[in-house]
């Protein structure tokens, strides 16, 4: 793998940027690997990267039915924060945030992590109390989060309408300054390049069609559209399609798949300095470095695998945006799409072992998985390598739905889905 630096940039500038090497190979699948990862999104690629880097397991393939990073990694609104309510969630999202802070240097790849601040708005006495409770819980866990008055919120985000005459006036805000955004594609590409450089095979256009199990019940590999690929361990990181893949091994999951929508406006000059979200009125907005306003809408009410979503769902969000930011009323929306998110009953992820020997799963990130990408891959790689849960992943077992030790983040989502 050639290292990126000011010198490689200068050298390639001299040859008109025509000789940059490919960032990762496009290998033919081998007959067998130590670990096969199903799904080359951010979480799967990060898992492969940390398996190779920290656990020295380099016989790894990442199988992807489409193209690398083409699922929810390429469809989300790229928000990063760690201000979750429950201790278990705070631990894993903060673990991820700490990795985000050094990720560009770690990967030698600019993931454009931008800690521009994530501000969550309150619109009622109840909201104030809930957000303050979050702030205190976060501080006990060593996570930055602070309370702002409406005037302070306006100073931090000048486009915000704090007038008293709107339907849901702003009564305050919680601000996590270390929260922000990153470039979603770069995260997938950076991990892919890093993993590939350590010998991991990333195999695109290779859909898993079956999971094979031996006489002892343990997995022996995957049937794919490019033939059978043997594996000592199979790690499923298939987001919205987790239920489909796990059904191939006869495992039913506590997961339902819903379309979650996002949309972007026409690009404009920098007008929006941070990330703003409001649970009560369901607004969720930031500005990309390209200048588009990036807006997150809600999920549809019914399970679906159509990467689409109802228009009234996006319209509901735009109503709230127009009220909070009246200057955006005339802006045109350029693109609108849906991604299929895997939602668990307690809105917390599932990371770990399954009832099938050798089969591991990392899923259930629901509507907010992007922010966890580095942390998720890091603890899942340790879990797969050692065959037992990483301490941070330990509470997020599949078994918690039997024992009843749920991690209820349903009310803690940035916006209610």
């Amino acid at each position: 793998m050639s290292r990126y630096s000011i010198f490689s940039l200068a050298r390639n500038a001299l040859s008109g940027h025509r000789n940059w090497p490919r960032q990762w190979r496009s290998p033919e699948p081998r007959r067998e690997y130590d670990v096969v990862i199903v799904g080359a999104g951010g979480h799967g690629l990060a898992t492969a990267y940390y398996l190779a880097k920290e656990h020295r397991i380099q016989s790894v393939a990442v199988l992807e039915k489409g193209w690398l990073g083409g699922g929810n990694t390429g469809r989300n609104t790229t928000i990063i924060r760690s201000n979750y309510l429950q201790d278990e969630s705070a631990a894993i999202y903060e673990h991820a945030l700490k990795l985000w802070e050094g990720l560009s240097a770690e990967l030698n790849y600019n993931v454009m992590y931008s800690p521009r601040g994530v501000m969550m708005l309150a619109h009622s006495v109840h909201d104030n109390q809930v957000l303050k409770r979050h702030i205190y819980a976060n501080r006990l866990n060593g996570i930055d989060n602070e309370w702002l008055s409406p005037e302070e919120a306006k100073r931090f985000c000048p486009p915000l309408n704090i007038g008293r005459n709107i339907r849901y006036p702003v009564t305050g805000a919680a601000l996590q300054r270390r929260g922000g955004t990153a470039r979603h594609d770069a995260v997938a590409w950076g991990y892919a390049r890093g993993a590939d450089g350590m010998g991991v095979d990333i195999i695109e256009n290779c859909e898993v069609t079956g999971l094979r199990r031996g006489a002892d019940g343990a997995v022996t590999g995957c049937d794919t559209t490019r033939g059978f690929i043997g594996a000592k361990k199979v790690a499923v990181v298939a987001a919205g399609h987790t239920s489909v893949v796990m059904a191939m091994a006869g495992v039913r999951m506590p997961i339902e798949s819903y379309p979650l929508q996002a949309l972007v406006s026409e690009p404009v000059k920098p007008v929006f300095p941070c990330v703003v979200m409001s649970n009560s009125v369901h607004a969720y907005i930031s500005q990309s470095d390209k200048g588009e306003l990036v807006i997150g809408a809600g999920t549809d009410a019914y399970v679906s695998y159509s990467q689409n979503g109802g228009l009234h769902v996006a319209e509901h969000t735009l109503d709230a945006i127009c009220e909070l930011f009246p200057e955006f009323r005339r802006m045109r929306m350029l693109r609108n799409w849906g991604g299929i998110v895997d939602v668990t009953p307690d809105r917390s992820p599932i990371i770990g072992l399954t009832p099938v020997a050798g089969l591991y799963v990392n899923c259930g990130w629901g509507t907010g998985g992007f922010k966890a990408t580095p942390g998720s891959g890091h603890v899942f790689a340790a879990t797969v390598a050692r065959g037992e849960p990483h301490p941070i992943a330990a509470p997020f077992t599949l078994d918690r739905f039997r024992t009843g030790r749920l991690i209820d983040e349903a009310a803690a989502a940035a916006v209610a889905h």
Partner: protein, 93 residues
């Protein structure tokens, strides 16, 4: 927005309805005898199929009644709808 076929009122826009989860999940006759695995299965495990899905809807801004429907979760096309309590229809795949 979907057009949802209510078996009582006919085709109506989606915003008149509430989705109410998978259909034909039976509550245990003797819940005290259920194991933890059975409870987990009843409460949390879902088929979540990519394809034909039997589900409950309520026409809350119409007749107010619950009914069942079969829908393709890839195209979102409704294949059938039928009254609550009726048997699951045979649908050729």
């Amino acid at each position: 927005m979907l057009i949802v076929p209510c078996p009582h009122c006919g085709d109506r826009p989606e915003i008149e309805f509430r989705y109410a989860g998978p259909a034909h999940i039976e509550r245990a006759q003797r819940p005290a005898e259920l194991s933890d695995e059975d409870w987990a299965s009843y409460l949390y495990l879902r088929d979540n199929p990519k394809g034909l899905h039997f589900e409950r809807w309520r026409h809350i801004h119409g007749c107010g009644r619950f009914f069942n429907a079969a829908r393709d979760t890839v195209s979102d096309r409704f294949v059938a709808s039928y009254k609550a309590g009726q048997k699951r229809p045979e649908i050729p795949r």
